[in-house]
């Protein structure tokens, strides 16, 4: 039940005995796992299993009641956490894209580098072109989000995070709002990132993608880490819960 898979290098992310409740509802019940440099970790599980909450805790979007979380050297559980420093190291992509509707694609990407890293407009523009070409959307730089398809918007959101040169990328069910055809184009971008060595944690329903790309799979159930392993774990589940989950999912 607990993680025995040790990461080859010192972990980028390390959760230890994390507890989190919303009022009387216990969402995380002693969650622990590590993610090492260059690893791609997929968190899977039914809705309500606490997987999205775990991801949000890693990025300090939720406060935890007990336990410790270390992310790129930041102690997330510490009330004195320097959030802005954390934000420079960690990028996140949401299910609902959350692009800024009044800014063009390019302006969306340039905003944080100019505001947070004090890049000049010119530098930020070059950077925007570079990350846009990474996700295959250089041609859309001057469009507004509402002019793009959902898949394109999600790729812009990925590019916007990449522009901050994060050490860790989080993906929160980024394809759940997309049609199957559009899902493919987003997953392809993520696969490229994984191949380039980006450390990634993704909450996902795409089992085929997890099996193919993830170096570590974390199966969560009832607020706990129920089973951990490599992608191969999905072909040989150890617990009846994971077996049932995969049976339903595929």
């Amino acid at each position: 039940m607990s993680s025995t898979l040790s990461s080859p290098l010192s972990p980028v992310v390390s959760l230890s005995n994390v507890h989190k409740s919303f009022g009387a509802l216990k969402v995380l019940d002693g969650v622990s796992f590590d993610v090492g440099v260059g690893e791609v970790a997929a968190i899977i599980g039914q809705s309500g299993s606490g997987k999205s909450t775990a991801l949000r805790c890693i990025n300090a979007l939720e406060t935890i009641q007990q336990g410790t979380i270390q992310v790129c050297g930041h102690a997330i559980h510490d009330p004195a956490l320097d959030r802005r420093a954390l934000r420079r190291d960690v990028g996140i992509v949401f299910q609902s894209y959350n692009l800024f509707p009044h800014l063009t694609v390019e302006q969306n990407i340039m905003l944080a580098p100019t505001c947070v890293k004090a890049l000049s407009k010119g530098e930020a523009r070059d950077l925007a072109r570079e990350v846009l070409s990474h996700v295959g959307l250089e041609a859309k730089a001057d469009q507004y989000p509402e002019q793009l398809s959902g898949g394109q918007q999600q790729r812009v959101a990925i590019a916007r995070s990449l522009a901050m040169r994060p050490k860790l990328m989080l993906f929160d069910e980024v394809t759940s709002a997309l049609d199957p055809q559009l899902t493919g184009e987003v997953l392809k971008v993520m696969e490229t990132l994984a191949r380039e060595g980006m450390t990634m944690i993704l909450v996902t329903h795409e089992m085929a993608f997890a099996r193919k790309v993830a170096s570590k799979v974390v199966y969560m159930h009832q607020g706990r880490v129920w089973e951990t392993g490599t992608g191969a774990m999905l072909d040989d589940p150890q617990t009846p819960e994971l077996r049932a989950f995969i049976g339903n999912g595929l």
Partner: protein
């Protein structure tokens, strides 16, 4: 009805009318800009400030919205004098108009702020933007864009309401009218002309706001969405 209309008697006064229009425009423009700043700060304070600030802004808005502008103008005018500070009638007029329109602006902008989705704030936070940067780049522009038509109407009303400052002898179009009618004894004609001039000013203000909106809200301009 045997009344003989005589608009010709007003012709020699056209430079005064023109000056009155210009003064009214100036008065309203200054009050609009300052009122927008005051109102927006109040809206942010009410949405995001400490309890004392929230309470103070709510009280300010209620007091202003439930008392007449005329009385507010008297209070500001005499209030400043009571403090022993000497200011011109026009300065007092601007101050009163700003106090007044600031309250209305804050309610309108507050509705705009509430229309910005929480997820937008989270996204800005995750990109590392500070609170001030988030307000400036992510919240304010879409919020104001959403309520821009309501703001436009409010500022047209402000321009019209600036006529009331003639009651403390501020120099503007209505004050000019009052002087001209007592010079010429052509009261009815004077107020017909001035009424038309105000209609013209309303139109001018609306056009100015439309042009300004087209300049500021680039997305609307590009996608052709009506403002």
């Amino acid at each position: 009805m045997s009344y003989q209309f005589d608009f010709a008697a007003l012709l020699p006064y056209w430079p005064e009318f023109a000056m009155g229009m210009w003064l009214t425009l100036q008065l309203s423009a200054v009050a609009t800009v300052l009122g927008f700043v005051v109102g927006t700060l109040c809206a942010i304070g009410r949405a995001d400030g400490p309890p004392a600030v929230k309470w103070a802004v709510a009280a300010y808005v209620e007091i202003i919205r439930n008392t007449p502008l005329l009385v507010q103008i008297f209070l500001v005018y005499f209030g400043i004098a009571t403090l022993g500070v000497h200011v011109s009638a026009n300065m007092a007029a601007v101050a009163a108009l700003v106090v007044n329109v600031g309250a209305y602006t804050s309610e309108i902008v507050r509705a705009g702020l509430e229309s910005v989705h929480k997820a937008q704030l989270e996204a800005a936070d995750c990109l590392g933007l500070s609170r001030a940067q988030t307000y400036w780049h992510v919240i304010l522009r879409p919020a104001v864009e959403r309520v821009y038509p309501a703001l436009t109407s409010q500022y047209v009303l402000l321009m019209l309401a600036s006529s009331i400052t003639s009651q403390i002898s501020a120099e503007e179009l209505t004050a000019v009218a009052n002087r001209v009618q007592s010079d010429t004894f052509r009261s009815f004609e004077t107020y017909i002309v001035v009424g038309l001039l105000y209609l013209l000013l309303s139109f001018v203000v609306r056009v100015a706001f439309w042009l300004f909106g087209m300049g500021v809200f680039a997305r609307r301009r590009k996608l052709g969405t009506a403002l």
